[in-house]
């Protein structure tokens, strides 16, 4: 753990480095889609990791097999107007990359400047950076929880899609959960829902309305 003051100085330095990143990596030289998308997708992949989508995938770290938040549509959810996070994305991305650059400095890690600092980190380092961001307090911490939650919601709920359409289309997160299919009309009903057997004795003092005494 580094002292607070030097940590702040490091973050300031990292933030300055991140701010000039677009200048040293003009669009033609940038290896990814956009700094914002790549950073947030890498963040989402840290929360719900997936397998690399193609050889040389820099965004998805490939920490585990199967789909992850990126495949599930996290970027779409971050930009969903009903979520309300879009306006904060530039600031969030700057903060993630500042934290990543500070991590690299304190861990003597050389970063590939062709991608955002957070994307340049390996999965364990990304996990440490996400953990550092989530350790804050107050409204700032709530914001980072929201960023993590969107990755979860993309994967576990397909929050940017109608659920019936998503599960029918084989949404990777819902499929991973084993989310049940709806009836042909798109509505869920479960006519078989109960073991239909007495499975425990009732409390001896249960009232005639089924309540505790």
């Amino acid at each position: 753990m580094i002292p607070t003051l030097s940590r702040r100085r490091l973050l300031q330095t990292a933030a300055a480095a991140v701010a000039v990143l677009p200048l040293v990596t003009p669009d033609s030289a940038y290896a990814g889609t956009s700094i914002q998308r790549d950073t947030l997708e890498a963040f989402a992949d840290t929360v719900v990791p997936g397998a690399k989508r193609f050889a040389g995938d820099r965004i998805v770290a490939g920490a585990t097999a199967g789909p992850g938040a990126v495949d599930a549509g996290a970027w779409l959810l971050y930009n969903d107007p009903d979520v309300g996070l879009a306006v904060a994305i530039p600031g969030l991305v700057a903060a993630i990359n500042a934290e990543a650059a500070a991590y690299a400095l304190t861990h003597r890690t050389l970063l590939d400047v062709r991608v955002p600092p957070f994307v340049a980190l390996d999965f364990d380092a990304r996990t440490a950076v996400v953990g550092q961001l989530l350790r804050g307090s107050g409204v700032v911490q709530l914001l980072w929880y929201a960023v993590a939650a969107m990755a979860m919601l993309a994967f576990h709920t397909a929050g940017h899609l109608d659920t019936a359409a998503a599960v029918r289309a084989g949404h990777p997160g819902l499929a991973w959960l084993g989310f049940p299919l709806p009836d042909p009309d798109g509505i869920w009903r479960f006519p078989d829902f109960s073991y239909r057997q007495e499975l425990a004795a009732l409390h001896p003092l249960t009232t005639n309305t089924g309540n505790p005494a």
């Binding site: 920490a63 009903d82 959960l177 084993g178 829902f193 499975l199």
Partner: protein
């Protein structure tokens, strides 16, 4: 609406259990009643079976406080539209609770037996159904079997559900598209409207002030909010009333009243203090399908023991074993099986000792066993530790997005409450982990406390220092200003609170009518229940 100021006999703020019930009783008794609701009005045809943000988020608020997050309804019908319909009477010992105050917290004379006639009336009106074992879904069945395996009893939970028409779809949080869940939309609210009560959705009350018009005691100021974005004001107005009933919900009522301090002269210092999350303690199990089959002897389909987490009604069964009056206070709790939709999947720990706890590779692997999850709710005895801080500029909270709101509520459980949490954790673990049926996991991925049952932010009582309301639900020092929602409940209940909130609102109604009569209004103090 008058360009100057509209007037009514009775103004009700909120349309959930606490608002709809007195609104019906007073309208049926002959009063002119207007109800203001900050959320939209939706019905069965509008309710979706979808987790798409922008759908259910229109009617559910996820409220972030400091140390706590709370889920609450935001629509006509209030939380009755989005709740899971468990309808239980609070055990007798709850009414005798003393907490760390060391004296009885409920008003004298308000006991379980005193409230039973009002419970009867609500149960008959809603109506509440008793589940048989044939009605209990797989998740409730497996919980009952696990309890029995550990030497415990377990009961099917009474529900405000039409069991004949329920499809066991497990989408109750979104509102019931089959009208099988008997929310206020199906009983008290239509009955109130049949007697002339008006319901005005998207009307967010800001404050209450003394009225200067002779014969009218209060003026209620509201903002109309945009139907597609509740953060955008679309109008404003005021209504003067002879009687005001505040039932904006436990999370809304104290904010409105505290903001009204200037307009009312003052409000009791207990407003916005002594909040209780009903001792809610959520956790879960991930079950071993082999053990469920071999140890519990369950099989729902050939070769499948359980794998049924998303199937059924959300609440099936509950053990009353720890609702034992002989146990010490803070160590009594109800243990309930409850389904939480996948929107809460962020919260469970991943079940491994290594960091991180609730995200990353191990969490994703845990979610692959989602159909073998079993979420559990312990409702314990907390010590009313919550209180509000700085008021938001408008409304009940700071609305960040459609359902994402931030409240200044702070909740830090003290040693008494934590003792109850530890005791309920141990009880759940002993049941779940006996004979390797499953592994008990904590919910660690959010704030320390998650509650769907906020209570006691403006509570009843005999002691003016610690209860903002007198035993008749009247705000101390403000004749004709009543509070009838969950905020009036003095303590946690160890069961789901909706039936108790409803019974207290029924119990309060004749007194409110008598007050109206004292003002010269021709209002019957006693009316038959809706449909009665």
């Amino acid at each position: 609406m008058s360009a100057i100021c509209e007037r009514t006999d009775v103004l009700v703020i909120g349309t959930g259990f606490g608002g709809a019930i007195p609104a019906y009783n007073l309208a049926a008794g002959g009063a002119k009643v207007i109800m203001l609701e900050r959320g939209p009005e939706l019905g069965a045809a509008d309710f979706t079976q979808s987790l798409e943000i922008g759908g259910y988020t229109r009617i559910v608020d996820l409220i972030q406080g400091n140390g706590i997050q709370v889920v609450a309804g935001n629509c006509v019908g209030g939380s009755s539209v989005v709740y899971f319909a468990a309808s239980l009477r609070a055990p007798s010992f709850v009414f005798e609770r003393r907490g760390s105050a060391g004296r009885r917290l409920w008003p004298s004379g308000l006991t379980r037996s005193a409230l039973d006639p009002w419970y009867d009336r609500v149960e008959a009106t809603i109506p509440v159904a008793q589940q048989s074992w044939d009605d209990v879904p797989y998740a409730g069945g497996v919980w009952a079997a696990a309890c029995a395996n550990a030497g415990h009893t377990c009961n099917p939970v009474p529900l405000a559900v039409d069991l004949e028409h329920c499809t066991n779809c497990n989408w109750m949080l979104n509102g019931c598209r089959f009208d099988a869940k008997r929310s206020m939309l199906l009983n008290y609210l239509p009955a109130a409207r049949a007697h002339g009560a008006q319901v005005r959705p998207l009307h967010e009350v800001q404050s209450i002030a003394k009225s200067l018009t002779p014969g009218y005691r209060y003026r209620v100021d509201y903002t109309v909010v945009d139907a597609s974005d509740y953060r955008i004001p679309a109008g404003a107005g005021s209504i003067e009333a002879k009687v005001v009933i505040v039932a904006a919900g436990t999370m809304g009522t104290p904010v409105i009243l505290k903001r009204s301090g200037l307009g009312l002269g003052s409000v009791p210092s207990a407003v916005g203090k002594y909040f209780s999350p009903n001792g809610d303690r959520v956790s879960m199990a991930v079950l071993d399908e082999g053990a469920v089959g071999n140890v519990l002897g369950l099989e729902r389909a050939p070769g499948t023991a359980y794998e049924a987490f998303p199937i059924g009604k959300p609440i099936g069964s509950m053990s009353y074993d720890y609702l034992d009056p002989a146990r010490p206070e803070f160590e009594r709790f109800g243990l309930q099986q409850i389904y939480f939709p996948a929107i809460t999947n962020l919260l469970p720990e991943d079940g491994t000792p290594a960091a991180p706890d609730w995200y990353g590779v191990d969490k994703k692997l845990l979610s692959q066993r989602w159909r073998s999850w079993l979420t559990l709710l312990a409702m314990t005895e907390d010590d009313n530790e919550g209180q509000w801080g700085v008021l938001p500029p408008t409304g009940n909270f700071l609305r960040v997005a459609s359902s994402a709101v931030v409240s200044s509520l702070t909740y830090q459980p003290n040693a008494n409450t934590r003792r109850g949490f530890a005791a309920s954790d141990a009880a759940l673990r002993s049941i779940i982990e006996k004979d390797g049926i499953g592994k008990h996991l904590d919910w660690v991925g959010g704030q320390p406390v998650l509650s769907a049952h906020p209570l006691a932010s403006c509570r009843l009582g005999d002691d003016p220092a610690t209860s903002a309301l007198g035993p008749d639900h009247q705000l101390r020092g403000h004749a004709g200003l009543f509070v009838t929602d969950g905020s009036a409940v003095p303590t946690s209940l160890t069961v789901n609170p909706s039936l108790t909130i409803a019974a207290l609102a029924e119990r309060a109604s004749p007194g409110i009518a008598r007050f109206a009569r004292s003002l010269g209004l021709d209002v019957a103090a006693s009316v038959p229940p809706p449909g009665g």
